[in-house]
């Protein structure tokens, strides 16, 4: 019963945070929403009894993608001067 509650909360948070990621139009704001979305997805994957996938999403969503996006944003901001 409690696992259904946890899964329900995780699913609701996934839907909400995904909408927030799409509605955040400025990339500098959106990347932080995207990192939050990675954390929520990790919780959802752990609630669905898939620890391997949760580890994979955690590693990728907190290390690889934010670094690439932030480096791109630095370059674009400077080129726009």
């Amino acid at each position: 019963m409690t696992e259904q509650v946890v899964q329900g909360i995780a699913l609701a948070m996934t839907a909400v945070v995904a909408t927030v990621v799409v509605l955040a139009r400025e990339p500098k704001r959106q990347i932080f929403c995207f990192m939050l979305y990675g954390l929520v997805l990790t919780l959802l994957f752990a609630a669905l009894q898939a620890p391997d996938v949760a580890l994979s999403e955690l590693a990728v969503g907190s290390i690889a993608i934010p670094f690439a996006v932030l480096a791109t944003l630095v370059r674009i901001e400077n080129g726009r001067r």
């Binding site: 696992e3 259904q4 899964q7 329900g8 699913l11 609701a12 996934t14 839907a15 995904a18 909408t19 990621v21 799409v22 509605l23 955040a24 139009r25 400025e26 990339p27 959106q30 990347i31 995207f34 979305y37 997805l41 959802l44 994957f45 669905l48 009894q49 898939a50 620890p51 391997d52 996938v53 580890l55 994979s56 999403e57 590693a59 990728v60 969503g61 690889a64 993608i65 690439a68 996006v69 791109t72 944003l73 370059r75 674009i76 080129g79 726009r80």
Partner: protein, 115 residues
């Protein structure tokens, strides 16, 4: 009870990502919306393999024979996430290149040049 909600969340995230891609004014925003759409497929395929009251398919502390979820969808998804992140980085490199050439990241302003 949460049966249909689970699949509905995956469908909603997919469509919301598509909406973000279609109405985007910034290439980086578009690329991150594409990543959101990809993640909805991971959620859907994991939900297909889930079994109520079952545990993870790792038998290091439980005996083999306990009810476990499907290991095949776990295996497909975990490689997919890492490779999808690399493809997203490749798209970001292309966006950087476009910015260097055309000084803008607006898809409206980046229409193909005529003539």
């Amino acid at each position: 009870m949460i049966g249909f909600l689970a699949f509905a969340v995956a469908a909603w995230v997919f469509v919301v990502g598509l909406y973000g891609m279609a109405t985007s004014r910034n290439l980086i925003h578009l690329i991150l919306c594409l990543s959101v759409t990809q993640s909805s497929t991971y959620v859907l395929i994991l939900e297909v393999g889930y079994r109520l009251g079952a545990t993870a398919p790792v038998f290091s502390d439980v005996l083999p024979g306990v009810r476990a979820v499907d290991p095949v969808v776990d295996a497909l998804t975990l490689t997919d996430i890492v490779v999808g992140a690399t493809a997203t980085a490749l798209l970001l490199a292309f966006a950087l290149r476009v910015h260097k050439k055309r000084q803008t990241l607006d898809p409206e302003a980046l229409r193909p040049m005529q003539g």
